[in-house]
């Protein structure tokens, strides 16, 4: 194992509940940052932080420019070098990757990554603007597609080629809602049955209401430290041991495949290249399930399951809490919620608690190694990160 060379420590995490929240985005951001600082076992001072990354797509739909400066303000650290990172729904994990590289390069000892989104209180038209703005505009969108439609095209093709019914989509929804019901931070804390899934309104065939993640508000923040200084903050850090990124053509129409996301495949390969363990050792995964089809794609694109095995693994319960490889025990985007910029950071919060045995009812017993996967848009960008105790 290439000890030390490719790992940085997560020493603290903070996350607001995800959902339709009454607070402005800045207040959400403040809450998550201070919770993250307070969670550091041996304490941390804002002055310890040397670099900040803010992941957000639309903030609240109004602070589009320069939102990262708010990190310094909220920390009482005006002057902190900060950057706004944006890769649509993968913004959070992109911020994580930036911080990871910054720390590995030795440019800072401690970095803060925060993500925030506020969408529930914007008018419907504006909300759909923000939800659709990360897709390809001139052709895809002007043919009448938003992401629901784009993922529907993927799902239609996936089901047709594999000769599957929407039961497999329903199985993902039922599982992730069951998980989310156990998560006090989740947006939709209610179980859903297969009958409810099938009876729900169609959004974009073959996707129905429970195939789609909710529109959520929320913020999440994580504090990362170089290995050399990590023990100053905690004796039980969670290590980031691999980071991979990938991208693809923005529009579906230009992609080489409709039934896989090459960006995820590239990201996963890169993440495992330097990791001290292989795919077979992963014990839990937070996969990007903005739509149920996305989780099915990710099961195989990350390489956690062999080609063709994803649907069966799902319907047989292997990805359920208690199964061989629990997927989205947080509830995933589907049930925990999807405040775009906060999503990828929130995944780290979940993994941090899981690997430290602090996840309560939804704890994966004995979990020591985890994977997070975060997709921008319909696969134009993707990030995969690996964690271990």
């Amino acid at each position: 194992m290439p000890s030390g060379t490719h790992r940085v420590a997560v020493v603290g995490v903070g996350q607001t509940a995800f959902g339709a929240l009454p607070h402005p985005p800045r207040a959400l951001l403040r809450q998550s940052i201070h919770e993250a600082l307070a969670s550091v076992d041996k304490g941390i001072s804002p002055q310890d932080i040397g670099e900040g990354y803010l992941a957000t797509l639309g903030f609240g739909g109004w602070q589009i420019g320069n939102p990262a400066s708010l990190l310094g303000e909220e920390l009482g650290l005006p002057g902190l070098p900060v950057s706004h990172v944006e890769n649509a729904c993968a913004s959070g994990s992109t911020g994580l990757r930036q911080a990871y590289h910054t720390l590995l390069a030795g440019a800072a000892d401690v970095a803060l990554v925060a993500g925030v989104e506020k969408m529930s209180d914007t008018p419907s038209a504006r909300r759909r603007y923000w939800l659709g703005v990360s897709g390809e505009t001139e052709w895809e969108r002007l043919a009448g597609l938003t992401f629901a439609g784009v993922y529907a095209l993927l799902a239609e093709r996936y089901l047709a080629e594999r000769k599957l019914t929407t039961d497999v989509l329903g199985a993902v929804a039922v599982k992730n809602h069951a998980h989310g019901a156990l998560n006090p931070h989740a947006h939709l804390r209610k179980p859903v049955t297969m009958e409810q899934h099938h009876a729900a309104a169609s959004v974009a065939d073959p996707l129905r209401l429970y195939d789609c993640c909710p529109v959520s508000d929320g913020a999440a923040a994580v504090v990362l430290a170089r290995e050399e200084v990590a023990r100053r903050f905690t004796d039980t850090p969670v290590w980031v041991v691999g980071s991979g990124g990938g991208s693809d053509f923005l529009a579906l129409q230009d992609r080489e495949s409709l039934t896989r996301l090459p960006a995820t495949r590239r990201a996963s390969d890169e993440a495992f290249r330097h990791a001290p363990f292989g795919r077979e050792k992963v014990q839990l995964a937070e996969l990007h399930d903005c739509f149920t089809i996305a989780e099915l794609l990710a099961l195989e694109d990350t390489g956690l399951f062999p080609e063709g095995e994803g649907p069966r693994a799902t319907t047989e319960g292997r990805t359920r809490l208690g199964g061989a490889l629990p997927v989205n025990v947080s509830g995933g985007l589907k049930s925990k919620g999807h405040p775009l910029g906060a999503t990828g950071v929130g995944q780290v919060c979940e993994v941090f608690h899981q690997l430290r045995g602090e996840a309560g009812e939804r704890q994966v017993k004995g979990a020591e190694r985890a994977l997070t996967h975060n997709v921008g848009g319909s696969g134009a960008t993707a990030m995969v990160h690996l964690f271990s105790t």
């Binding site: 001139e138 095209l153 959004v203 065939d205 579906l252 080489e256």
Partner: protein, 426 residues
């Protein structure tokens, strides 16, 4: 003298006999485009064959900008357009002038195009931005282009009738016919239809002409009788039920303002206009190195980055196959299509691929095509309205399913997919 050598009628789908279609996305402009395309097809003109179209007489209130855009859509160099008032008298005059035109030495044809722009609800419903239309087009070959023998022999093959989009209201899709067409009362359409019919039978008209008009009989009678066309009668349209759905749609839409401020994908008028060759005519570039097809053309291969060896190329409007399709329900539409959802409900969108040429593009299906079009189903692409912005309609191609796919259609994601050399995923 001139004779009719070809006639084509582009009928909006919502006006076709028994076919009830909820979402008219056609207007005078798109129908005139269609009519011209059909004319060219029956005339067997090559694209850009300037000599073949000398003059266009147009019975429509299109703006100058719209008239210029017609040539963009046809992919033809502009020729003179003579405008006539958008009413029955205008149609009569245009047709008379064309028939009286002695022609010239170029042998070029004269097109007479007409589009009725009134709402199907009739007078009193003002909705200019969404004006509906029924277009009728006639092509008249100049005498010197078409030898006098044509007229003397009155040869039937010289008179090709093509009904709108190849679908005949009589139920037989390939039967050229106008007689089964049921015109909306008072639309004026029937006038043009009948003029077309009359023109092909004049002056040696073999049989009496049925006149499918009601409101404008007087002008029509004047014209026909003046030319010695025997009139057999004036049947009253017997069935109005097919108008009920569009009526509701129109009523729902009446008075709603056009979206002028984007809450979505703002594509400026300039950007849109610049994309017209790609958007309307599928003009792109073929790469000599990787054989990839780039659309729109930007002087660099979209797939392999090559800057040399790019050749201008146009994708055909027929022959693309459906790879995947979905039906977009309320709430899943971009804001530009809010009006579409409000008035007409769900619409279909699909990825279609050109099996020969390679590329895949995304199109909305027109006419409420069913979703989940079987893989391998074949589409034709037609110019339709997309959405309003900045007070004007944005037009683009939409897909019409013309042949269903077979259940065992080859997988579109098999080894053949992709526009260039296959990339290996990482």
């Amino acid at each position: 003298m001139s004779v009719v050598v070809a006639a084509a009628v582009a009928v909006p789908v919502w006006a076709r006999g028994n076919v009830i279609v909820e979402g008219p996305d056609e207007d005078a402009f798109t129908l005139l485009v269609r009519a011209g395309d059909l004319l060219r097809r029956v005339q067997r003109l090559e694209p850009g064959a300037r000599a073949e179209v000398r003059t266009i007489r147009i019975v429509s209130s299109l703006s100058g900008e719209e008239r210029a855009a017609l040539f963009e859509a046809w992919g033809l160099p502009p020729v003179d357009i003579l405008s006539y008032p958008e009413n029955a008298e205008g149609a009569v005059k245009a047709l008379s002038d064309a028939l009286d035109d002695p022609g010239d030495s170029t042998g070029g044809a004269t097109w007479v195009l007409g589009a009725q722009l009134a709402s199907p609800l009739g007078a009193g419903v003002e909705d200019p931005p969404r004006r509906s239309a029924i277009a009728v087009a006639l092509a008249f070959g100049a005498a010197r282009a078409r030898p006098p023998t044509v007229a003397a022999e009155d040869t039937p093959p010289q008179r090709t009738w093509v009904t709108g989009d190849g679908a005949s209201p009589s139920g037989s899709p390939n039967t050229p016919s106008l007689m089964g067409f049921r015109a909306p009362p008072g639309s004026g359409t029937a006038v043009l239809l009948t003029l077309a019919e009359a023109a092909t039978r004049t002056p040696e008209g073999a049989s009496a002409t049925w006149v499918h008009a009601t409101a404008e009989r007087t002008a029509l009678r004047t014209f026909l009788e003046g030319r010695g066309v025997p009139i057999a009668g004036y049947p009253v349209p017997e069935d109005r039920t097919f108008f009920q759905v569009p009526d509701d749609a129109w009523r729902a839409r009446a008075g709603a303002p056009m979206a002028s401020v984007s809450q979505g994908a703002y594509l400026s008028r300039e950007s849109y206009t610049a994309s017209i060759p790609a958007r309307w005519r599928l003009e792109g570039e073929r790469c000599a190195s990787c054989h990839g097809f780039s659309l729109p053309p930007v002087g660099r291969c979209h797939l392999c980055g090559a800057r040399d060896g790019l050749r201008r190329s146009r994708l055909p409007r027929v022959g693309a196959k459906v790879e995947s399709a979905t039906l977009i329900h309320k709430g899943a539409q971009p804001t530009e299509f809010d009006w579409h959802q409000e008035v007409y409900g769900s619409y279909a969108v699909g990825l279609v691929r050109w099996p020969e040429e390679g590329p895949t593009l995304t199109f909305q299906f027109t006419d409420q095509q069913p979703p989940g079009a079987p893989s391998g189903g074949e589409v034709e692409l037609v110019l339709r309205r997309l959405y309003p912005q900045e007070g004007a309609w944005r037009y683009g191609l939409k897909a019409v399913l013309v042949a269903p796919g077979s259940a065992d259609a080859p997988s579109a994601n098999g080894p053949s997919r992709g526009k260039g050399p296959r990339r290996t995923s990482g």
